[in-house]
Amino acid sequence: MGVGIEVTNLNAWYGTNHTLQDINLPIPANHATALIGPSGCGKSTFVRCLNRMHETNPIAKVTGSVRIGEIDIYADASPVEIRRRVGMVFQRPNPFPTMSIYDNVCSGLKLNGYSNRKVLDEIVERSLRNAALWDEVKDDLRKKSGASLSGGQQQRMCIARALAVDPEVLLMDEPASALDPVSTSKIEDLIFQLKTQYTIVIVTHNMQQAARVAEKTGFFLNGRMVEFDSTHKIFTNPSDKRTEDYITGRFG
């Protein structure tokens, strides 16, 4: 089951560039939360702070606290433990090119030393079913490379790969922006189903997408969070003028 996320006074830097400033945000459990805003506003940096991927860049710095369930991720645990509880799907599908579909999906488990074949088989099937890919690939799980699938299939495989380690939170950084409309709608359907079991945070450039999949939406601008409210409110009656300008297409 998913858990809620409580972000308090989060600040992040790349070198001297202060990319996130005083972010406070409660993300509800078992819902989808969308983050919108123009390019470079810090929304990607924000999700990367939620699984400590931000700090893999040597010039990056973070202060503040992020509580995921009971854990303060910057105080109580190592990045490796956090990333097992907080899965991530990236903008471009990034399958491991040397691995079969099967190995791609269970790579998170295998690389952490898990090897019970029977259990892995079950997890691979369940994860691929959850990612709505099972029927398309079940016949060549071990024969085909993950990189031989189409872009949309690759992205669903990457979602299955993230689900296989059984995370509590799923971060999605513009998961459909490199995909065609058919694949995009498949991914959106998927998010709809997944949010009953996981807490989902999705970064998107596409405001219709945010409106379709998310209950809550946050609007980011220049490293600050301008407004956070129910998606319906953000898109119909925003409190902040800047949010209104953005969603009506006056800038960004």
Binding site: V80, R83, G87, T98, S107, L111, K143, S145
Partner: protein, 291 residues
């Protein structure tokens, strides 16, 4: 309207002519590059093939003045030397390359290692031989296969290291992020994901280094020394194909000249065989559609 279409047609003819010209120049350049290789191989076949027989692969050299004999000991000796060299050069080179690409980027130590490797790559092979002489031969008080292997191994390190580094850096950043994002520890991600993804290039780099040192003569002159008799003992002098070719090529006897040609042909053939074998074995592990 008519004038326009006519001029654009002429322009099209000009452009397609230019296209053909450029393609032709590329083909010509390729031929010029490949021609020396083909010429060398053809000449070796012409000169050496007639002296190849079963004896060449099964007999050791005959004493001066007797005709016949073979280079069996030198073929095996080269194998032993290259085995020792690979055991030294490949792990150190690959390990160093991993450090440079994944752990030491931008640090002083990494810059120093890169610089040293580039210098080592340019050090004449005979000097590497002298280094191995003072490192191994002097303390052991005699020439040995081990010393020859060390000399060749040292020569392999910079090539293997720099090619490993470059191949690892070519692995897209997104793939490393995918592994880290799954909660895979960094060391595991480097070994199982980055290195594995780069492995075809890393293997090619190792084979280049291997092929390069397989033909080296100078570093062996005062390390492995050469041997007219059977020996696979690491602690003793050992024969090697390039050494044997050298000895026969400067001898005054026609019979030995012919054997030298045959030896050169066999040396090249064995290098091609070894490289193809490794590439074949490595390629069998690759899945359908993997890039």
């Amino acid at each position: 309207m008519k004038a326009v279409s006519q001029s654009s047609r002429m322009h099209g003819a000009y452009r397609s002519g230019l296209d053909h010209l450029a393609t032709g120049l590329c083909v010509l350049a390729t031929i010029l590059v490949v021609a020396p290789l083909v010429a060398i191989f053809a000449y070796l076949l012409f000169k050496g093939a007639s002296s190849l027989n079963l004896d060449f692969f099964t007999k050791i050299p005959k004493p001066v003045g007797e005709s016949g004999g073979g280079m069996a000991n030198a073929i095996v000796g080269s194998g032993v030397l290259l085995g020792v060299a690979s055991l030294i050069g490949i792990p150190l080179g690959v390990g160093g390359g991993i450090y440079l690409a994944e752990f030491g980027r931008g640090t002083r130590l990494a810059n120093a290692v890169q610089f040293t490797a580039d210098v080592l790559n340019g050090v004449p092979s005979i000097i590497v031989g002298i280094a191995a002489y003072s490192l191994v031969v002097i303390p052991m008080h005699h020439f040995s296969a081990l010393a020859g292997g060390v000399a060749l191994g040292i020569m392999m390190i910079p090539t293997v290291m720099r090619s490993t580094e470059e191949m690892l850096l070519m692995v897209p950043h997104t793939i490393r992020e995918a592994a880290l994002g799954l909660g895979v520890p960094n060391w595991r991600s480097v070994l199982s994901i980055t290195l594995k993804t780069a492995s075809p290039g890393v293997i090619t780099g190792c084979m280049l280094a291997f092929a390069r040192v397989a033909g080296e003569t100078a570093p062996l002159l005062f390390t492995a020394l050469g041997n007219q008799f059977w020996s696979v003992n690491l602690n003793r002098e050992i024969a090697a194909l390039p050494l044997q070719i050298y000895i026969y090529a400067i001898s005054p006897y026609d019979d030995q000249h012919r054997l030298a040609w045959a030896g050169a042909l066999v040396l090249i053939a064995l290098i091609v065989l070894a490289v193809s074998l490794v590439r074949y074995v490595a390629s069998r592990g690759i899945l359908k559609g993997a890039s």
